[in-house]
Amino acid sequence: MANATTVTLDRDDKLIEELGFDDHFHEHEHGDKYKSNFITKYIFSMDHKIIARQFLITGMIWALIGAGMSLIFRLQLGFPEESLAWLRPLLGKWIEVNADTGIGTLAPEFYYALVTMHGTIIVFFVLTAGLSGTFSNLLIPLQLGARDMASPLLNMLSYWFFFLASVIMFYSLFLSTGPFSGGWVAYPPLSALPQASDGSGTGMTLWILSLVFFVISVGLGGINYITTVLNMRTKGMSMWRMPLTIWAFFVTAILALLSFPVLVSGFLLLMFDRGMGTSFYLSEIFIGGQALDHVGGSPILYQHLFWFLGHPEVYIIILPAMGLTSEVLAIHCRKPIFGYKAMVYSILAIGFLSFIVWAHHMFMSGVNPFIANFFVIFTLIIAVPSAVKVFNWITTIYKSNVRYNAASMFAIGFVSMFISGGLTGIFLGNSAIDIQMHDTYFVVAHFHIVMGVAAFFGMFAGVYHWFPKMFGRFMNETIGKMHFWGTLIGAYAIFWPMHYLGMAGVPRRYYRFDNFDTFSHFSEMNKFITIAAIVTFGFQLLMVVNFFYSIWKGKKVTSKNPWGATTLEWTTPIAPGHGNWPGKLPTVNRWAYDYGKNGEEFISQVEPMREGETEDH
């Protein structure tokens, strides 16, 4: 087998040499900027592979911070009576210690800050930048046969704007008034009046500044992704031969470029309301018996602008995970992805529909019920392309010879999570049922499973699968599998019970429930959820240790195509240098999913069509 692999690999090189497209790339001196010193190579790098790793590692640091915050507020919810004085070294004055009893309690305003920051960090910094930023950067040029992104400079700026946004947000955590605490959606008036709460002052100013830089980062990245996909594909790589990962990143970038600017507009008006005394969002408000100057603004207007981003944003998060899952499943099931074209059309349909459903986040804010009907219908229609995708994944797995490794297991786990979380979306998309479910733990359970955990599963599948391409080594498989089982069981243990809490009407974002008789019998369930969260977090630490250990000490990759995949990134050297291919660019002669065709296990995309052979899709 090892022999056979070597033969096919040499064959790839030969094919690229014979049929490849000579762009004279290596005849030019590219100057010092790509190979010289440490700073230009690893820090201010313009190479897409380094930038991908920068996004990934920054995203991982944020994931630990964001998830760590959730543990602190879970402790408060699960064990409201216990002393949290031991957290004082970490949280300082946010743990208020009673001088007589010595019992430390979490400051309520900091509880809200934690919830707000947890949402902001995970949604934007981890699952947008960390997921799409990492894999779009890594895979778009590699899988399309391009030397780099269309504009490496903008690409570098994209990361550094993200870094700047990160620094500002991180700094805001240490303000004496605390970070912003009005919820990750930042609705006015909490976000518009600096005097509304502690976090609404400087905390909110930094929050909004950070997110504006973040949007610039997403914009620069997105421009590059779209341009690269449309203009830099190698010879023979027609749109219909692109792997599904690329389709997903492409549509994701379009969504981001159309929706994030709308958020900026919303923020712009918010900034004027905050600092310049306009009344776009602020209506007649009394604070401490004093009437404010603002007259006649509409807070609902902000909600419209926010959710016009906010809903596409959840697809910006989930589409890359879907693309990664499709690719990983096909490779490790050794089967062509089922219904390739249906997959592409579903991605496009989801992308389109995501723009006409935003008001389903606002059913309870007083929107006209007749308008709500429109949004209900389109929301429910999203179930159709989603179901098509689920069907295709399951059919791909069905009767296949799955290689059970960490990557494929996380991909299968993604499908499980997406089904579980997607089904509850059908409940919540109905404006009538939403009257009961709105702002309860049912919503928390729904979105955490369908776009939180599922997106993380897609990301993990991607990390385990492409780790050899990124670092030239494998991650430890045993720890990877432990990580999978711990996360799968743990995530269901955390979020499944929340459905019951939500159906009973337990509201989200509350500081404690033990004063409510109605909810007092849920205290054991809340304890259980907290313990499950702590254990699941422990498994993520395992993954982080595995990740960094494997970068330096993991099993080395010895062949160029360790998974036996068809796509172009595996025709590059094990540690691809600048320009990705040492000689000519590969040309593409077939689609990305020729697995098990004509008795061959896999046929690389660079392989010419045989005589009498037809394309499969």
Partner: protein, 192 residues
């Protein structure tokens, strides 16, 4: 890197950087589309002061349209290697661009003096915020024009593909902020 892209993608009909500028313009357009949508939504909610846009904005519209024309003419002259015409028209464009800012500023002053100062009513605030935000994007165009001027007078005159592409990027963006203003002007004039 520019050279790399040139050859890497020699088969393409459009230079990737030019395409990227188009995509970026689309993104900026979404920002203004959402601001004008917010205007429509807010207006429907009532408490809306009606007023006439000061006439000076017509002048600024004319000036920015003219600047687009002169920049385009400069580009054509550049392609035809008419150095003097190219440089003159570039300077004229630059002056027209500055004139646009002067007229916009006078427009804001005139609007305030006509009884619609900032923060008096959302209808006026929208005009201020939208036109300020547009002006911010024109500053970006002005920066590009400055670079174009430096190239025109700092480097010896020579028509190369690289410099042609650079010029085209500036031209595309400048046309974009121009037509963006025309849209905003028409919208703010007729949708009161």
């Amino acid at each position: 890197m520019d050279l790399t892209i040139q050859e890497n993608t020699g088969r393409n009909k459009i230079h990737p950087h030019k395409f990227a500028v188009w995509v970026g313009c689309g993104s900026i357009l979404m920002m203004f589309a959402s601001l004008t949508s917010a205007y429509v939504v807010r207006q429907a909610a009532g408490n809306w002061l009606e007023f006439q846009l000061p006439g000076i904005f017509k002048l600024s519209t004319l000036v920015i349209l003219l600047s687009s024309l002169t920049l385009h003419a400069s580009f054509i002259a550049f392609k035809k290697e008419k150095e003097k015409q190219y440089k003159t028209l570039l300077i004229v464009t630059y002056l027209l661009a500055i004139l646009f800012f002067v007229f916009q500023y006078q427009g804001w002053v005139a609007l305030a003096e006509s009884g619609v100062p900032f923060t008096i009513n959302p209808s006026g605030d929208f005009v201020y915020v939208i036109s300020w935000f547009h002006a911010a994007h024109v500053i970006g165009g002005l920066a590009a024009l400055t670079v174009a001027l430096i190239h025109a007078f700092g480097l010896s005159f020579k028509v190369t593909p690289k410099r042609k592409t650079r010029f085209e990027l500036t031209l595309t963006y400048w046309h974009f902020v121009d037509f963006l203003w025309v849209y905003l002007f028409i919208f703010l004039t007729f949708y009161r």
